[in-house]
């Protein structure tokens, strides 16, 4: 005879059911799922993540990629990479999945107030920063200049095409392609190639997310441009299982857990080697 031992709310391992109400193709490999929460609200701060449960497949962490002012829906942007994310691409509107969260420590929004905000995203890393971008636009007056520096490899990899047009109206959006097609009129090269053209310095705070291989070089380049390591924040990715600091899968050098001490870290608090591969 099975019985409930602990109420669902008290057990941090138990996900809550949510329904997919829309699936948007962002690129060939990337989809954004819009999830509807029933009878409960999820209040989160940009930078936090949820554990998405696909029944029978497993769980994986994804940063919330929607506005924090909408507590009844959340968006998750997911690129097809592993077993779970491939399964995600078979989901359709109407399917129900589970989420646990919000988990992790968010971006320190108060520390950004009154500063120039530089958001550096490469590849799918922009999904982890989208809620911060939306926050910066919704609270535009709190910040000086807001710049999104977005680097992708191919033209087809650019996601959030509709949103980028919208964001350009209120913040400075710089897009660069490292493997641009001949007809591309925008910037070429890596994001680190274009830091010179931006006005960076002591009054700038940076939020960075990208693949582990490039994040440490971005953080290095930002420091060379005069931004203090106290003002650079990175959002890290690790293989997470529990999300509450019990399984030790997301440990990074320094003995910090990405799930409870992160995923957002100040570069000054972790060794730069901890960011990279």
């Amino acid at each position: 005879m099975m019985a409930k031992a602990v109420a669902g709310d008290a057990n941090p391992y138990i996900p809550k059911p949510v329904t997919i109400i829309a699936v948007k193709n962002e690129s060939l490999e990337t989809k954004t799922l819009r999830l509807k929460l029933y009878n409960w609200r999820l209040s989160f701060v940009p930078g936090q993540f949820v554990q998405l449960l696909l029944p029978g497949v497993g769980e994986a962490p994804f940063c919330i990629a929607s506005s924090q002012s909408d507590q009844k829906h959340i968006d998750l942007t997911i690129i097809r990479r592993g077993i779970l994310t491939t399964s995600v691409h078979y989901l359709r509107p109407g399917d129900a999945v589970g989420i646990r969260g919000p988990l992790g420590k968010p971006f320190p929004l108060d520390a950004f107030v009154g500063k120039d905000l530089l958001i550096v995203a490469t590849g799918i890393g922009i999904a982890a920063l989208k809620s911060l971008i939306i926050y910066a636009i919704e609270n535009r007056k709190k910040f000086n200049d807001v710049t999104l520096l977005y680097g992708a490899r191919f033209l087809e990899d650019i996601v959030y095409r509709d949103e980028l047009k919208e964001w350009e109206k209120s913040i400075n959006v710089v897009i660069t392609l490292s493997k641009a097609p001949p007809e591309w009129r925008g910037l070429r090269g890596r994001v680190t190639d274009h830091l010179d053209s931006l006005r960076l310095g002591k009054g700038t705070a940076a939020a960075v997310c990208g693949s582990p291989a490039v994040m440490s070089s971005i953080a290095d380049a930002l420091m060379k441009h005069g931004i203090s390591s106290n003002d650079i924040y990175v959002s890290l990715e690790r293989h997470m299982k529990c999300g509450i600091g019990k399984c030790a899968r997301c440990l990074i050098p320094g003995g910090k857990h990405v799930c409870i001490d992160g995923p957002v870290f100040r570069v000054a608090d972790i060794s730069i080697g901890a960011i990279g591969e």
């Binding site: 029933y38 029978g56 990479r81």
Partner: protein
């Protein structure tokens, strides 16, 4: 006189009993409603196992191949079960909750068995008691792990003092031969032909009240461990560990993960969904043992892994025991039990790496 008064104030009672009486303790514990786990000699090794009515607990041993971890954080356990609808499609098994039209149906009805039994560990040494303290620090820090907490509540520890280690022990260096306060309900110690038993909790006193005994005088002696090989720690900082070359014995390492399996504090876990193809709609969310010696420990989607060579994985384990645990939990993760050295088929010795041999 003052010492006796101090003992009373500390709430401790010490008795002296024969070995015969000592071996009655497990059955008394099960009469008190505990599930008794004790060291048993089987197949050439001593291991902790649930004590059956005919089993004789082993009280003269040096090391056990497993640890309380096996019972507090089992090698695999079902966190909860849920039912879902499943269909088999061309690309494999596809499971989803029932499609929702209108309001979301309540489809996650997690079910799991409450753990009602209380555990009692009989005859475990100080290093294993220290491992319980470390697991507590990890699992009960906020938010507490409900499954661990459930098992840990009302647990009884009957500790057996160990003074003489084998060539793999290192508890003197780490100070884990001392029992942390509140971690043993009774302490037992060989003394002449009999045993000294000291009750340190109410449950311990209740157990001793059921014995034929002789009150003993004086203070319960403190263990003084004698090590065959003595070490002092030289590298416990992350930088020091990174800067050191891997030990020569690591060349023979086959990444078999015996070190993490036999370690009483290696708590790394994997969580995954399991179901039978016969009844795919009945899914169990399983928590299973994971090891940092395996590539999948650190691999993220797309195949990027953070720990590649076996040298990195060896150092990672040492770092998790020392600097990471000191930073995150304010406690050293190694209890000096020596299991990872004793049971390593390649003979890798981390003590040579973190410590320096002293005469």
């Amino acid at each position: 006189m003052r010492k006796a008064l101090f003992c009373c104030l500390a709430g401790e009672t010490m008795i002296k009993i024969s070995k015969q009486e000592l071996l009655k303790l497990p059955s008394l514990l099960s009469a008190m409603g505990y599930r008794v786990i004790a060291p048993i000699r089987a197949g050439g090794v001593v291991k902790l196992a649930p004590l059956g009515p005919d089993d004789q607990p082993e009280v003269e041993y040096i090391r056990v191949i497993n640890s309380p971890k096996k019972f507090l954080l089992p090698d695999d356990e079902s966190l909860f079960r849920y039912r879902s609808t499943a269909t088999i499609t061309s690309y494999g098994l596809k499971i989803r909750f029932p499609t929702a039209e209108g309001p979301c149906p309540v489809t996650i009805l997690p079910e799991y068995l409450p753990i009602r039994e209380r555990l009692a560990f009989f005859g475990i040494h100080q290093c294993m008691v220290s491992s319980v303290r470390y697991l507590d620090r990890v699992m009960l820090s906020d938010p507490a792990d409900p499954y661990y907490k459930n098992r840990r509540e009302g647990m009884f520890i009957a500790e057996l003092d160990c003074d003489e280690g084998d060539e793999y022990c290192m508890c003197r260096t780490l100070g884990t031969y001392k029992i942390p306060a509140g971690y043993a309900d009774i302490q037992m110690r060989k003394s002449g032909s009999g045993y000294l038993v000291n009750a340190a909790s109410e449950a311990g006193k209740e157990l001793l009240s059921r014995l034929k005994k002789q009150d003993a005088q004086g203070e319960y002696p403190k263990p003084v461990p004698k090590m065959v090989n003595d070490f002092e720690l030289v590298a416990r900082d992350e930088q020091e560990i990174d800067a050191k070359g891997a030990p020569k014995s690591l060349e023979a390492c086959t990444l078999c993960a015996a070190c993490t399996v036999t370690c009483p504090t290696c708590y790394c876990m994997d969580i995954e969904d399991k179901f039978s193809l016969v009844d795919p709609s009945n899914v169990s969310r399983m928590r299973t043992r994971m090891s940092c010696q395996r590539k999948c420990y650190s691999a993220i989607a797309g195949g990027t892994a953070f720990l590649h060579a076996k040298e990195e994985r060896f150092k990672w384990r040492v770092k998790h025991k020392f600097p990471f645990s000191i930073n995150a939990f304010k406690l050293v993760g190694c209890t000096g039990c020596g299991n990872c050295v004793a049971y390593c088929p390649a003979g890798v010795d981390f003590r040579e790496f973190v410590g320096r041999r002293v005469a």
